[in-house]
Symmetry: C2
Subunit: 398 residues, 2 copies
Amino acid sequence: MNKAVAYLSELIGKSVHDIDTPALVIDLDAMKRNLGRMAEFARKHQVRWRPHAKLHKSILLAKMQIKAGAVGVCVQKTSEAEIMVAGGVHDVYISNEVIASAKLARVAALTQAVAAHGGQIAIAVDSLEGVSRLAQAMSDARTGIRNGTPSTATVIDVFVEIDVGQGRCGVQPGQDAVLLALEIRKHPALRFAGLQAYHGKVQHVRNVQERRMTAADAMKSVELTCELLKAQDMAPGLVTGAGTGSFALEAASGVYGELQAGSFIFMDADYAQNERDPVQPHFEHALFVKTQVVSRHASHAVCDAGHKSHAIDSGLPQVHALKRQEGLDYFNGGDEHGILRPSSGQTGLPDLGQMLWLIPGHCDPTVNLHDVMIGVSGGLKSGTVERIIRVDARGALT
Amino acid sequence: MNKAVAYLSELIGKSVHDIDTPALVIDLDAMKRNLGRMAEFARKHQVRWRPHAKLHKSILLAKMQIKAGAVGVCVQKTSEAEIMVAGGVHDVYISNEVIASAKLARVAALTQAVAAHGGQIAIAVDSLEGVSRLAQAMSDARTGIRNGTPSTATVIDVFVEIDVGQGRCGVQPGQDAVLLALEIRKHPALRFAGLQAYHGKVQHVRNVQERRMTAADAMKSVELTCELLKAQDMAPGLVTGAGTGSFALEAASGVYGELQAGSFIFMDADYAQNERDPVQPHFEHALFVKTQVVSRHASHAVCDAGHKSHAIDSGLPQVHALKRQEGLDYFNGGDEHGILRPSSGQTGLPDLGQMLWLIPGHCDPTVNLHDVMIGVSGGLKSGTVERIIRVDARGALT
């Protein structure tokens, strides 16, 4: 057993103070409260909830979410889906376009694999070429070209992605989506399952009224597409989308049947900057980078967490104040360092050796930097390490 | 053998076109040319060269650099040093402050371990407390408190870090540094080895004249400190520092004896934006993210590499033009996507399924996202996969 593995296994049951830095730490109590609030929300609003596992990339957390009421998980990558299935999560939606034939063969093989467990794989498409390639891969798998024991009965659920304002993937709402749905219906191994309609930009609109208006525009696009599908005698199927910033709006829309919100279990610094819509539950920060001051000067202190410890695409991390007098701002110190200065109106700096907690700007890519998350119960001040949670799909890019 | 491992082992000898996306790919021919240029530079200027392994985190590349003439490697983290030593790299300098007692015990153990191979561990300090804690750890290791077979003869080389303008770690140049050197001399297991004087900001000053002036200021601080050390009858020892943006200036200074430049082997998009100083060798881009277009629209295309595939702290990646007519700009598409639009004056967009190559903005944290780098010889257009290079110290943060 190498040192790193020995250290982690010996950590369980020890104090939060024994965690070496920098490290990614989950406040399990806060995370469980967040999970409970979301599960209650979904039950109350009678909406399916399929959290995005691209956030935590953890089989254990996916199963915990399913136990709490989630219908399965979303992922963005074929390799993430493979890891979830291998870990026993059998209802997985790849909410993204897959084009490479080698990857589509793996998707088809997964579809066969989960069918044996009564599970289901779903995927998104936004092109005729994508539908054609997917159908070919499913057909190959059925006829055993790529699989020793093919099932002729397995089908993959296919969602047509529409661009409801993000300007990234997805066909335009309306007739283009209907054409794709009609195309999907031609292939026996594909089942038109509904619409993928996620608006990433809505999630981060700070002002509640603006956020509601932007979400309402997106919903109109979805409604229009549903009407056109019905005009073709097609059931629109399930509309799936929504994130932590907006999901209560989609839940109330009467259009969306499934919420993909995932980030709420950890709540990053960016989401916390949204003005909270009263219709959404409150979520607590539950993911932190523990760090130590390694260099101390008159004007600043330097900690051992830089942007190899946390992602900075949504801004630098915030310093979590465990004590009332703490008021520190984090500045970019490069890959391995963070620079700490007193916040406006504050004067104090932490001592050399002092431990601090950072709230990452964006949880998803932060988690992806770490092999494990250290789960603590009893809080960050004096809690105990309860479990080591592997980031199973860390670096699963393909 | 799981699918990911099988895929990688089967990839060797195959075409560059068979590499699944997104993937981190090294153009080995370009990398070897870069390596040769640096080795020649160091020989010609009679300066030691100790490249920073925080860039590649690879035992294989560290050994390749040592074979080419490097005296050893730098690292930033204790765990990186442990991984290098375990891989047979026995001359390692932790060019950073380490404060945690548990980590310093590991540093002391490493010092003992490499001594058996005629190797040497070095470390930086910038505080009396840091010296005291390091001395205690070395003393504990010597007296066998933390090590079964202590050697009473092993010493650790200690560099005093001075802040030559970066404003991060390091004591102020001059008397503060001398005090630390005098303190180091009091401890039998510590050997004052010289000055750590790295100016990170100089590396990215675009204009040659400005860069030269900023570097000259830093060198004055180093010279002052050396003079004060001599006034105390202390040999200033080795002055170590410099990066890919400035190393020819340090080499010509007559003050620096060791260059830490590492990034030149890969050359990222950020370094390429520096106006090249004629005294520096030319380096080629050698590290790329291979990506595929997975969604195609009238105004833009979407590829499968987002900021889980490459770091964006020094800007978004650039699209590498393999064909003359390619002129694409990369825009942020989130964690798993990149958005491609024609560059100014261009009109073409890549087709659905097309493969593209990205030049990362910053190589160090990009490498840290990947478990492996795929080494290709014969170029990116039609080359062959020659070897899979593990990122051994990926995620080694502590």
